[in-house]
């Protein structure tokens, strides 16, 4: 624990450097729960889209199966990308396996030549497919690894493919949980003759879980961009002790990030509606002139 905190402090002291903008899909919130919690849900329990978050938490989950689909409109003030996220996993005893697919389709960009002559239009899009595996080494401690392939198309002449991996650790003991992950580890993506590094992150988070409320905090370091942080709350006001989970879930969070790097600051909120294992979630961003009104909606099932 001390080493973890120490590591996080070291990372926080690192100067902001680099400008990792390639493939933002790989580090932007892509499902309604993560969006509602401001991206600070690393240490919380697994949801259907955990392959793209902390897959190690799946090995410590009480559920054996989850699957979900989400769709969102990202940054409508800056052009409104269409984003989707599909995910699912299965846990058997100490092992778990999962798949995810997510994508981002931008609005059409009008192309023009060196003198401003019109050259048609293009629709940039990014797609990522991931396969994850988790293992509970001992009760309360799990490890995971995720392999991901990314395909990116900027225009008809410019596209690239990259492979990367995520490594994660999850620890849970009673009401506390902690997680550490390194995501998007891999070689660069090449567009034509030039290669660009992937947006690798080191993330660390903690969470406190109680009957009515979960509180989570996270500190992230985005390579070549610097530190980001988030604080989120997930409340279940109708929860009753000894009763199955209530149908209403409320979420709120704040994400901090530099304005000119990585993921800038925003506030977020979300709501979940749960019934017999089926959960309908919504998430929205606000308090950001660039990202405000970004929203995501998702449907998941878990047992």
């Amino acid at each position: 624990m001390r080493k973890t905190v120490f590591l996080l402090l070291i990372l926080a002291a690192l100067p902001f450097s680099g400008r990792a903008q390639t493939l933002p899909l790989l580090y932007n919130p892509a499902n309604p729960r993560t969006m509602g919690l401001g991206g600070a849900d690393l240490a919380l329990g697994a949801d259907a889209w955990a392959v793209d978050g902390n897959f190690a938490a799946v090995a410590l989950s009480e559920s054996h199966f989850a699957m979900g689909a989400a769709y969102g409109r990202w940054a409508p003030e800056l052009g409104a990308d269409n984003r989707f996220n599909l995910g699912g996993w299965y846990r058997s005893e100490a092992l778990a396996f999962g798949l995810s697919a997510k994508g981002s389709i931008a609005q059409a960009a009008n192309l023009s030549g060196p003198a401003g002559e019109p050259l048609g239009a293009t629709v940039p899009r990014d797609l990522a497919f991931a396969l994850g595996g988790a293992w509970m080494a001992v009760p309360g401690l799990a490890f995971s690894a995720t392999a991901r392939v990314v395909s990116s198309r900027l225009d008809a002449q410019t596209s690239g493919t990259a492979f990367c991996a995520d490594l994660a650790i999850q620890y849970a003991s009673g009401a506390l949980a902690a997680g550490v992950s390194a995501t998007n580890l891999g070689a660069s993506i090449r567009y034509g003759e030039q290669a660009w590094p992937l947006p690798s992150l080191v993330k660390g988070g903690v969470a406190y879980r109680s009957l009515w409320v979960d509180v989570c905090a996270e500190l992230d370091y985005l390579a070549r961009s610097g530190m980001m942080a988030g604080l989120g709350i997930e409340a279940r006001p109708l929860e009753q002790p000894g009763e199955p989970r209530s149908w209403l879930i409320l979420r709120a969070a704040y994400h901090y990030g530099p304005a000119d790097k990585g993921l800038p600051a925003f506030g977020s909120a979300g709501i979940g509606l749960l019934f017999e294992g089926v959960e309908l979630d919504f998430g929205v961003l606000f308090a950001s002139p660039e990202l405000g009104k970004s929203l995501s909606a998702g449907l998941s099932y878990a047992f």
Binding site: R19, A20, Q21, T22, L23, P24, L25, Y27, N28, W74, A75, E77, L78, G79, D81, S104, A106, Q107, A108, A109, N110, L111, S112, G113, P114, A115, G116, E117, P118, T122, P124, L154, D155, T158, I189, Y191, G192, Q194, W196, P197, G257, P258, A259, D260, K261, G262, L263, P264, F266, S288, E290, L291
Partner: protein, 756 residues
Amino acid sequence: MKRILAALLLILGSCSVHEPLPGPESPALPDEDQFVSGEAVVLVSEQKAGEFLSASLGDASPELGILRAERVFPDAGEFEERHRAAGLHRWFRVTYDPGVSVTKAQAGLGAMDGIEAVEIPRKKVRRSYFNDRLASRQWYLANPGSRDGYFQAGIDINVESVWKQFTAGSREVIVAVVDGGADLSHEDLGGVVLPAEASGGSRNFIDDSDPFYIPADSHGTHVAGIIGAVNNNGTGISSVAGGADGRGGVRIMSCVIFEGEEDDPDAKSGDDAQALVWAADHGALIANNSWGYIFDSEQDAERGARQFIENPSVTKSAIDYFIDNAGTDGHGRQTGLMKGGLVLFASGNTGWKHDAPSEYERVVAVGAFGPDGKMARYSNYGAWVDILAPGGSDANVREEWILSTVPDNSRPDGPYSYMSGTSMATPNVAGVAALLISHFGGPGFTNDDLLDRLLSGARTGVIDQQGRASGGGKLDAAGSFHYVPTPVGPDDPEITIQTDYTGDYRFRSHEQASITWRISGNDRAKLPVSIESDCPGVISACNTVRAQLFLDALQAEPGRYTATIRAGDVARKDVSFTILENHAPVKINDPDDEIINAASSSPTYLYLDNYFQDPDGEQLRYTVSVADESIVSTNISESNLSLIPAGYGQTTVTLMALDARGESCSATFQLLARNTYLSMDVFPNPVRDILYVRPDSPSPVTASLYSRSGARMLSQSGQAGPFEPLRLDVSGLDAGTYSLRVEYGNIIQVFNIVKY
């Protein structure tokens, strides 16, 4: 002494061309195809003329195969003495083997003893342009104008007031139409065309034809109708001198020298020289000749005209005879309304600067103009053209031609048709001349008086000669009637040289000017009139009543020059004139940078006179050059520049203004071709290094570039405009998709940008 050929028969069968040949004083034939084979006209010396017909010509030159010889002008009875005085008895027509080349015949005849000159007949062509049918509109008599500008009010012969105030033509005036035959039976020529009789009247001058047979010809009938179709008879057309009471005005003597249509292989042509002499001897005062010689090229025409003017010619002799003797008896006493005759020739329809016989200085050469006031481009031109008359436009529009009578009654509108050409212009002049004789004619009225009125009454500066300088002005009947000649007393022998020019004789370096001096005096008809000048830009045209100076200042350097007008050795007038220094064009305004719409093909126009001016008041000529012609193409029409989008981008346009002497000045401006439907351009996209943000008008602009994660990567503000776009350096950014947010004024626009 070599025996001279006994009988030389003169044949003028199908030729009126009398091309002087190499012999004692004849130039070489340029092209044998232009000449009639098997026929020649020779000029025999006075000593040999009497025995020429009795000589054995065949023995003298057996290789020519001479068949017969005859006098061109047979014994003329009461006029014989006069004919001999004019030397007409010395002309003989020789018929030889047609298989002999004209060059060989030329040489062979020229080598014969007693023969002073040999002429091989040239092929003739009638000077009409078309022969077609149309509705009746006679703009040439009174042009009301039209809204589309193809008809200009006042572009006519201005004859109506003459009909009202003076005369519409007297039956005492006879006009000889030397052409195809006029239709005696035409409904609108009844009583106008003189019948053919032994004692006079119309006559056929085609060899082997009955001299009393007047075949109705389209061209000849058309010409006759312009001059004298009966006015006011409720039928057909009006004519220039067709009277006013429905019974006709002047009369037509049809002198037939053409038979058959031009494209008829059996078409014939007759003896024009005989026709002219006959007309002079039998009462005609005006001879209308709407025909001329065939030439292959303008150079050939120049050569032919020079040969005709400088060498003996039976046609020229006949022309002189008509001018000198028409209207008089065998003793030279005036018998008609005018002493002496007027010979008119159509200047030709090839658009050349030379022609024959019309270029001969003693004839009145007539050029043509259309109803729009422009000289027809088909009309031959030059200082030798004496007057311009309606002949029809260059366009293939019948209503713009000349409507008159034709023999063909099978047409829907009856026997009337449109034709165009200097053939039609000439009878307009003949008609006005006939009106002048009808009113002013009488004892003491001479052909010089007529010529003076005709030419001095013409209006200069009215017809747009389209850069083809020609002498004379527009035929104006009223002007000729109202013209007041310089009074000359009966005993006043003095020759005066006067002009109505009131300028200061200072001409700008680009000017063209024309000054006319009138020659007045009792003896002027006998004096050669000339203009001499030390200025290379001066050409002149002179006849017995007029000396006309044409100045083209561009052909000479600025400076002071003199011109001397002479009437023989009797009168002389010296004038000095100055060609002023030329001043280069100046730029008066800088053209603004231009933006054109590259998304449209519509041109943008600039009026170049707004930017340049010539201190000499000259209309400048403009050129334009473009640095990058893939962006814009240009077209200049007079002072208007069209800028036609061809692509996108910015380029430099250079304008140059030049004056006639080649001095110039220039101006440049920037031209931007962009999509003007867009208020903001962002390019290039995709971008590697520099992204341009270009508003459609100068304004403060703020551009912010965001990653798809919402991070603001770049922000830049500044004044930007179409020619000074905002530059964003994106070279340091990773590849990917970005959003560019542009704020200008109250407008915010977001563009999706691809960086690679």
